[in-house]
């Protein structure tokens, strides 16, 4: 029997990815802003042995349409709230880089890694929206030209670089508690990151010691060339949006990232409506049909999938209670969690600390 090797994540957003999902009979739209709602969803995903969940977020409202879900809680805080109540599933909140501080995000994701004991990731998100820029009033953001789009991604790449350097700014054994000399840390194992870039500079070191995974898992959604280059430089997992298996093969050839996950919006039967405007392909059908599609795309080089349930909780249950057992029957998905971190599960080694390596090469 082949080793279970397919990676499965779900993307959680409000009541689901369909604008009218909140009106489904089992939807809980009045509870979207409670801890209970998120605990239940993520526990369901964990019961399905999924690799990780992503939690959508943005620095603005979703729409101006009072018939659609509006408002959302901070995704990093949702992930953190749920972390002590789960044991295995990876927690990958979305956080925007365009208007925020890399110093703050670096310690927040590092801390999520501590509270979850090595299950933290981060979905890096850019914001080109004028409305979100106005919430900060510090700058204008434009994507009128190829150059301005490139700038936004270059800034994001610098941001991720700063976050990664901050994660490495403490060597793993920097805390020594040496009572004999009275030193709590070995200061030679803490490092200024001294980042100076086109968009900002950051001194370091972090105030938070290196997290359990060393580097939590960085993920990003990418649709075409500029974001592909960004993902190659910055991400451990890239989410892409192929139309079909041939397109998947074509994309896999273009992005050199260890894990290429395909995004799919998923409606599992019974399907009442599947009305959704989407960048990703919309799947409607049975769990067995979805399993066929996943295996065909895996053949094309896709290493995992991030399924976006059209309706919550029903399509999440369709995934955990329909798709997962189907994949398990076919011997391509785990029946049990192995112990370990999110990196372990994804087969990503715990990275050496870049500064420790530097020190060692000097010595």
């Amino acid at each position: 029997m082949s080793m279970p090797n397919l990676h499965l994540a779900v993307a959680l957003d409000g009541a689901g990815w369909a604008p009218d999902a909140w009106r489904e009979p089992d939807a809980r739209p009045a509870e979207l802003f409670t801890a209970r709602y998120w605990i239940d969803l993520i526990a369901e995903a964990e019961a399905g042995k999924l690799d990780f969940v992503t939690i959508e977020d943005a620095l603005g409202v979703q729409s101006d349409d009072p018939a659609q879900v509006q408002g959302r809680l901070d995704a990093v805080l949702i992930a953190s709230r749920v972390a002590p109540l789960t044991r295995h599933i990876g927690l990958v909140p979305t956080a925007t880089v365009t208007h925020t501080e890399p110093f703050h995000i670096s310690k927040a994701i590092a801390t999520l890694d501590y509270v979850s004991r090595g299950r933290a990731g981060w979905r890096v998100q850019l914001s080109p929206k004028a409305g979100e820029a106005a919430h900060f009033g510090r700058r204008q953001v434009s994507i009128d030209t190829q150059a301005s789009i490139q700038d936004l991604f270059d800034e994001a790449a610098d941001y991720v670089e700063v976050v990664r350097r901050l994660w490495d700014s403490w060597e793993d054994d920097a805390e020594i508690r040496d009572a004999a000399t009275g030193r709590f840390i070995d200061r030679d194992k803490l490092h200024y990151i001294n980042f100076e870039g086109r968009f900002f500079s950051v001194k370091g070191p972090s105030i938070t010691p290196r997290p359990p995974q060393g580097q939590p898992v960085v993920t990003a959604l990418a649709h075409n060339d500029i974001p592909y280059r960004f993902a190659e430089k910055s991400a451990d997992v890239v989410y892409v949006t192929p139309k079909d298996a041939a397109d998947a093969r074509h994309i896999v050839d273009q992005v050199k990232v260890r894990h290429v996950f395909a995004d799919l919006v998923v409606f599992l039967e019974p399907v009442r409506s599947a009305a959704v405007l989407s960048d990703a392909r919309v799947f409607t059908g049975t769990p067995a049909q979805l399993a066929d599609l996943l295996l065909a795309w895996q053949e094309a080089g896709i290493t995992g999938f991030r399924l976006r349930p059209g309706r919550l909780p029903s399509d999440l249950r369709g995934i955990t209670r329909g798709l997962v057992p189907e994949l398990q029957r076919r011997g391509v998905f785990r029946t049990q969690y192995e112990p370990g971190t999110l990196r372990d599960r994804l087969g990503l080694p715990r990275p050496a600390n870049r500064y420790a390596a530097e020190g060692a090469s000097v010595a």
Binding site: A35, D74, A83
Partner: protein
């Protein structure tokens, strides 16, 4: 009826209060430590759990300071996780108003308030220095004189954002298809000297209608800021006379903002050493203070006042004869306490006289002048002192800083708290479900 006492648990931070060399000291980073202290505080029916903040590692003489605990996790993330393992305890985070933007901070606190069922509190601090600013995009961009105008406007903006959602905005009516009863919920526009922002806030009104506001600055401007906006004030004035002076001062400022004297709680920081008897506690306290101030730590403290490298001096010897360097370039960076020495030469002279008169070495002297153990004694003595200070209007309660992480509150919870409960001055059950209710504050 006697005044009811409010108590909070301070997770020890990065100064020399924490005796990390104690064999009972555990991790100050691993989540289990936070769970342990928070659950002890909740079992003891404390009002809230408190986290301090520092956004740059301290330095002295151009090097990262290594004698105290160094490093801490992210405040919001820890508090959100603690909401999962506690039910009633307030969750107070120190978050700086200079290095954060109102939209982002407001949504983090509103999210924390939702995720904790109404237990969030924001300790608004205003450190502005360029040293800390080097970790942030815009660098050290604020003059000291602007720190409270930015804080005031940031907090005002945050409150506008919280209020931009009517409590009943969400209909979520499946039958009619109306999700939002008020289609313009969240709409805001704020323009002042520091912020020119507009749009829509994206977190619905939270259980408390916004976090409880704490304040911790001590200057005149800081006290004014507290009187105008805060629900509670975290002070350094934990003794009877000093406490009463401070208490009167800040409560007197409330009238001009149309506020009742009860609407602002005064909560000084306090450390404690418990013993079986008072003598036993005094003996333990002496040991703790020598652990807190090693010879090396004493020299570092002296350097902070002298603003010079004093590493050649013997901590067991006399104070330096040279005077402090009064130029601007402070040897210690990232430390609020350095600014407390307004006239270093005068302070140095006082210290020299004291050391001479009492025959104190450098280390002895520093132990004396930095000693901040507020309560030392048996459980009975400490319970009486706390109650006396509160009933004498030196405070409304205390924020307790144990010197051992994370078990340093266990004995207090097990011995002092029951005595306060017997006296009828401390709750035996939580009064309400939100922190605001437990602090006896009016709803927002």
């Amino acid at each position: 009826m006697p005044k009811q006492i409010h108590l909070a648990a301070h997770f020890p931070g990065v100064n020399n209060t924490t005796v990390w060399s104690d064999p009972a000291a555990g991790s100050h980073i691993e989540f289990d430590s936070f769970v342990k202290l928070a659950q002890t505080a909740e079992r003891a029916r404390f009002d809230f759990f408190f986290l301090a903040e520092g956004l740059r590692l301290r330095e002295q003489g151009g090097q990262i300071y290594d004698l105290d605990v160094v490093g801490r996790p992210d405040t919001f993330t820890v508090l959100a996780a603690l909401a999962a393992v506690t039910e009633h305890l307030g969750l107070a985070g120190t978050i700086n108003s200079t290095f954060n933007e109102p939209y982002e901070v407001a949504r983090q606190f509103a999210s924390l308030d939702h995720l904790s069922g109404g237990r969030a509190a924001w300790n608004v601090v205003t450190s502005w220095d360029a040293f800390t600013g080097e970790n942030f995009r815009r660098g050290g961009f604020l003059a000291e004189s602007d720190r409270y105008s930015r804080a005031t406007q940031a907090l005002e903006t945050a409150k506008e954002l919280y209020d931009s959602w009517p409590a009943d905005a969400i209909a979520a009516d499946k039958a009619s298809g109306v999700f939002l009863r008020h289609p313009d919920a969240g709409t805001f526009r704020h323009t002042d000297q520091h912020f020119d922002i507009s749009g829509r806030f994206n977190v619905p009104r939270s259980p408390q209608g916004g976090p409880v506001i704490l304040q911790a600055g001590d200057s005149d401007a800081g006290r004014e800021f507290a009187a105008a906006t805060a629900d509670a004030i975290f002070s350094r004035h934990g003794t009877l006379e000093d406490g009463q002076k401070f208490y009167t001062d800040v409560k007197d400022r409330l009238a001009k903002y149309g506020r009742e004297r009860d609407s602002l709680k005064v909560l000084p920081a306090a450390t404690f050493v418990l013993g079986d008897t008072d003598n036993d506690a005094q003996e333990k306290a002496r040991v703790v203070r020598r652990q807190q101030v090693s010879g090396a730590t004493a020299i570092k403290f002296l350097e902070q006042l002298w603003n010079r490298d004093l590493s050649a001096y013997d901590p067991e010897g006399p104070l330096p004869e040279i005077d402090p360097d009064v130029s601007d370039d402070h040897i210690a960076r990232g430390r609020a306490s350095v600014r407390m020495h307004r006239d270093p030469i005068a302070t140095a002279n006082e210290w020299r006289q004291k050391a001479e008169a009492e025959k104190l070495s450098i280390r002895d002297l520093i132990i004396e002048v930095t000693g901040r153990q507020t309560f030392i004694g048996s459980a009975t003595t400490i319970a009486e002192s706390i109650n006396h200070l509160v009933q004498s209007d030196a405070s409304d309660g205390f924020i307790l800083v144990p010197h051992v992480t994370p078990g340093g509150l266990d004995e207090f919870a097990g011995t002092v708290v029951p005595l306060l409960q017997e006296k009828g001055v401390f709750r035996t059950e939580y009064e309400g479900s939100t922190l605001r209710e437990n602090l006896g504050l009016a709803p927002r």
